[in-house]
């Protein structure tokens, strides 16, 4: 398949999942004829028809709520929420219904729904188009939350999430949609890493940086620069936010003794806070420094002309690496 963008890779993953299982449906605003505002569903309606690729009314609660009903009838809906900030009209259905249905029914009912959300900033958009709501979902028992960071993972992870009988929040780093990666010819999802495994992308000895989604690339860049400054930085792509792959995370910190967490979302009560707590519990005797969190500030997502101030960048990651290394 060669060099493929993340958007195209997810598109191919959706296509493969739809070919594999006739119960898989794609639904959302503009996902049909238009192919989605990011073209992630491009061509699917043409090939699978309007019954399987559904252009929905503009109502996010309706998208999620009807997906629940479709799932109860035996379908496997993949819902697209057009932008992160528009998930909130569907929040009640996600938190009160999707997440709790299996538990409420004592296991008799399954709702294998995947909710795809293009998330994060960096595209110069207006309000509500750049948010990172992952902690809200990770804080909700019953949901599983994953974030892909590259094309190969996008291709595999979307198929794995669709195949699972649990409901998923599937986060796609929208500013990385057009970045390419190699998908080997003949690559099959069966050869992919388990969906809830974290991955050490770059081994290092001095500091572990934990990132996911759009910040993975930033972390890799920071590690490369740090290397030139004589610091060996390990980069871990979490891939799965809920559940966290604690063995890989704590294993990394056990080796390096220092940890930096990195995400676009505000740091307070965020994924980084959970990581810091888990690392502190499991690696107390290995830690050489407090866990430092790098993330968005505790402000609403700002106007586009301020987002470079808001979003963690290479320098802020390097600054944290310096601070944690010199502790």
């Amino acid at each position: 398949m060669g060099q493929t963008t993340l958007a195209k890779a997810i598109n191919m993953g959706l296509r493969t999942a739809m070919e594999d299982d006739p119960k898989v449906l794609v639904m959302g605003e503009d996902v049909g004829r238009l192919g989605g505002v990011f073209r992630v569903t491009d061509g699917l309606q043409k090939d699978f028809g309007e019954d399987r690729v559904i252009d929905t009314p503009l109502a996010e609660s309706g998208i999620i709520g009807t997906a629940v009903g479709l799932a109860l009838r035996g379908y496997r809906p993949v819902c697209e929420i057009q932008f992160d900030g528009f998930v909130f009209p569907g929040f009640d259905q996600i938190v009160s219904q999707v997440a709790k249905m299996h538990y409420r029914s004592l296991g008799k009912v399954r709702v294998p729904i995947v909710i795809r959300i293009p998330f994060g900033g960096g595209i110069g958009a207006v309000e509500h188009h750049s948010e990172s709501p992952e902690a809200l979902f990770a804080h909700t028992p019953g949901l599983k939350v994953v974030a892909c960071s590259n094309a190969l993972d996008g291709y595999a992870m979307i198929q794995q999430a669709i195949a699972s009988d649990d409901p998923y929040i599937f986060l796609e780093p929208k500013r990385r949609y057009w970045e390419k990666a190699e998908i080997p010819d003949g690559f099959s999802v069966g050869a992919a890493d388990p969906l809830h495994s974290a991955r050490v992308l770059r081994p290092g000895r001095d500091v572990s940086v934990f990132a996911y989604g759009p910040m993975v690339r930033t972390a890799i860049q920071a590690a490369a620069v740090a290397e030139g400054e004589g610091r060996s930085v390990e980069v871990v792509d979490l891939r799965s936010i809920s559940p966290l792959d604690l063995p890989v995370i704590t294993g990394s910190v056990a080796r390096t003794g220092r940890a930096v967490t990195l995400h676009e979302a505000p740091v307070s009560f965020g994924v980084g806070a959970e990581l810091a707590a888990r690392i502190t519990e499991a690696c107390f005797y290995s830690l050489e420094a407090p866990v430092l969190r790098v993330g968005g500030f505790d402000v609403p997502y700002p106007p586009a002309r301020l987002e470079e101030e808001y979003l963690p960048d290479l320098d802020r990651v390097l600054d944290a690496i310096d601070r944690v290394a010199s502790y």
């Binding site: 609660s61 009807t66 035996g74 259905q93 029914s105 399954r110 699972s164 009988d165 604690l246």
Partner: protein, 402 residues
């Protein structure tokens, strides 16, 4: 929908300053659109459109309706008593709404699927759900103890109106299964009934479900039990027009039926289901009734409504009119009524005994069924909590241990 209904809608818009309690009490009586097949005095009425949907009911069917109504009320009374005695945490009584639920429930076919609120004990009865299964939620031992697929009766939904979207999605699944319009006249098709109340009509989810069902022509019947009260808020706080007229704006038919008339509820629901299962799309049914009890056992309706309203509605009791009709027409006699009374007492006694015998879940059941594939993290939490419980001495220590 005819133009005459458009006119009726405009004429019935209440002035904003109208006394809500007074105005809601008069609308039904004055409403020529109210479908009724059995008067409060127990006289059968003809209706040009709907009589035929009740015409094939046998005497046994009619006696069966009476039996359903009496037994369901007895279950409700027993559950209320169990709550008062501390055996249930709370109970949502269906008192007064028996006919709406039995009539609509008996209109369904086995293949149809129901999405209830938390008050559809009568519909549950018609779907064969053992009444004891309903009590688990209210006793606090589970959050829904029956298998929805076994009865085609989904779990109770507590968030107001959320289930109407589930119903609509399920109906869209029926469409994709090709299960609409089956049989010679489409009469073997499958349809869905979504239950909700007058308060729910203000919810976004209900309005979204109307939009979705309409544009996708989904085989769903929206069955609104307008019992006049959303806890303390009267209908006038939810709508300026009769609720059934809302359907017109969404592009599908709406009908108001006497919710205390089991025959009319049966006929109207059967008609709407026939339309849906044949591929004719959704219908909104407004069953005009009255919540004779409190919202739940935690509520005190004397704070917000007057006794005279209750008395007026008591004269429209859904069971008394059936009993009067059966007796007058010779379909049932006093021996039959006594037999049903005896059966209801037995049922209530059994229900009580089963309720008292209902075991609490084991402490570690807390962790069951959060996921289909349990996560390692949750497994560790469970293991740690089990070890914590085991760290207590077997006896004493505040009842810890598993």
């Amino acid at each position: 929908m005819s133009d005459s209904l458009v006119g009726a809608a405009a004429a019935q818009v209440a002035p904003a300053h109208a006394d809500p309690i007074h105005s809601q009490g008069t609308v039904a009586v004055a409403d020529p659109q109210l479908v009724r097949l059995l008067t409060p005095e127990g006289e059968r009425l003809d209706h040009p459109e709907y009589s035929r949907y009740a015409a094939d009911l046998t005497d046994a069917d009619l006696r069966g309706f009476y039996r359903d109504l009496v037994l369901v009320r007895r279950i409700d009374v027993e559950a209320t008593a169990l709550q008062r005695q501390g055996e249930l945490g709370i109970w949502a009584s269906l008192l007064g709404q028996e006919a709406a639920q039995i009539g609509s429930g008996r209109a369904m076919q086995p293949q149809d699927f129901v999405f209830p609120t938390y008050r559809e004990h009568g519909v549950a009865w018609t779907r064969g759900v053992d009444p004891i299964r309903l009590l688990g939620l209210f006793r606090g031992v589970d959050q829904g103890g029956w298998d929805p697929t076994e009865h085609n009766f989904h779990l109770y939904t507590i968030v107001i109106g959320a289930q109407t979207l589930h119903a609509t999605g399920y109906a869209m699944g029926i469409q994709r299964d090709g299960a609409v319009g089956q049989g010679p006249d489409g009469d073997q098709g499958t349809a869905v009934v979504a239950y909700f109340g007058d308060g729910a009509t203000s919810q976004g989810d209900v309005n979204e479900s109307f939009v979705w069902a309409s544009v996708f022509n989904a085989p769903v019947v929206f069955f609104c039990q307008n019992n006049q009260w959303a806890i303390s808020e009267p209908l006038a706080r939810q709508s300026r027009i009769p609720l059934y007229q809302r359907a017109q704006g969404f592009g599908f038919p709406g009908v108001r039926v006497d919710g205390n008339d089991v025959l009319a509820c049966y006929a109207v629901t059967r008609a709407a289901l026939a339309t849906a299962r044949a591929g004719g799309g959704p219908t909104l049914i407004e069953a005009y009734t009255y919540r004779m009890g409190a919202h739940t056992t935690s509520d005190d309706p004397t704070r917000y409504r007057i006794a005279a309203d209750l008395e007026a509605w008591r004269l429209k009791d859904p069971i008394e009119r059936v009993k009067a009709y059966l007796a007058r027409s010779g379909i049932a006699d006093s021996a039959y009524f006594a037999e049903i009374d005896a059966e209801s007492d037995t049922l209530a006694a059994d229900l009580r005994a089963q309720c008292l015998a209902m075991p609490d879940p084991a402490p570690l059941a807390l962790f069951d069924h959060v996921y289909v594939d349990q996560t390692a993290l949750l497994g560790e939490e469970r293991t740690a909590y089990a070890a914590y419980l085991d760290s207590f001495e077997p006896a004493g220590h505040g009842g810890k241990g598993r």
